[in-house]
Symmetry: C2
Subunit: 220 residues, 2 copies
């Protein structure tokens, strides 16, 4: 049974249990999934602030993107749990002979790369959803402004939480080129995401202006 099939109360009990999965990586993906879902909800509410056909189309497009990103982040909850299981399985392989050691080492490195790429995908999806928040704050139903802000809090937690998981896995990876490339992208996504959160806060604080045009996100 996949983690995402659990009833919520069972899922939270699974996070609480001392079993190593689900852990922080799945929790970061879940935070992002909730955040993207809140943005999608606001984009779909009646009585949007958008008044022109163009602004309404922009709101609908960003809402649809957040629906898809929420679904992608949901799938990443399970993928992170699976990636961590593969790392543990690799470390449990026999290491009696030199051959066994070599096979085990390769399997562990492969699993660690997947365990790094998964939270990096979480970062990509969170940064993408964040880049949609300014338009949703500007054009969505103004009474749901606090839902946009809560969504951003969760997407920020998902972005930063996923980065912690990227970093912790990179510490054990021996391929220096892979490590440098992953670290560069994690830094870039963090900067884009934190900048997007500030842009959305500004869009939410500004008085409604039907003529305003929010630049499209250029994150991913």
């Amino acid at each position: 049974m996949k983690v995402t099939d659990y009833p919520l109360t069972d899922l939270l009990a699974a996070f609480r249990s001392p079993a190593p999965t689900p852990g922080g990586g799945s929790a970061a993906a879940l935070a992002g999934a909730i955040g993207a879902s809140l943005l999608a909800m606001v984009a779909g509410l009646p009585k949007p602030r958008a008044a022109t056909t163009e602004d309404l189309a922009r709101l609908a497009a960003d809402g649809a993107a957040c629906v898809a990103l929420g679904e992608r982040l949901t799938a990443l909850i399970d993928r992170d749990t699976e990636a961590y299981r593969l790392v543990v399985a690799g470390f449990r392989m026999p290491k009696g002979s030199d051959d066994e050691k070599a096979v085990r080492g390769e399997r562990v490195q492969e699993a660690l790369r997947m365990a790094t790429e998964t939270p990096l995908d979480v970062m990509r999806a969170c940064a993408d959803a964040i880049s949609r928040a300014a338009a949703i704050a500007a054009f969505g139903n103004p009474h749901a402004a606090s839902d946009v802000q809560v969504g951003l809090e969760l997407l920020g937690a998902g972005l930063r939480g996923a980065r912690l998981n990227v970093e912790v896995n990179l510490e054990s990876i021996t391929d220096g080129q892979f490590v440098a490339a992953m670290r560069d992208e994690a830094t870039r996504l963090t900067l884009a995401g934190e900048g997007g959160i500030q842009a959305a806060d500004r869009a939410a604080a500004e008085p409604p202006d039907p003529a305003s045009r929010i630049p499209a996100g250029e994150v991913t």
Copy 2:
């Protein structure tokens, strides 16, 4: 059916749907519940850093507290959805006569007070769990340091997200004394929570020192 009985995928679909519940208030409680659960997991892991009976007892006590706080925050997910439904039901009451207007006004104010107290309870529980994080970071299994940090990200999102919901409801409450008291406590809990996050970050960054003593949380 309560929101917390939903399978996770259905719950996320409910957040995404344009129906007003579940909304940001329940999402903030859920963020806190995941965060408290991660701290509880780390406190229960084998091979803790704590070496003395006293430190082990402290770790166990903080872990047990986080289990209870995680369960309390889970219950608050449903309570927030219920509180919001009562506000909407109040606004839909008849307002043809002066009597009807008076009854409706009282019902709305009562529902708004519950809709304010619920996220304030979320803030209390998040701040309490945060106050346990420094000891769990110092005495728990050091390999789970990133899980503590992801837990703190989620508890911070829960704390700030709940405060947004306190503030948005206070705007419509006419009882000035209630508004001032709620606002004061929300500010106090924010300061305590943000301070607790910094203290936990310091505890996680410090090298292990079996003689260290983390002061007990004094938040709630």
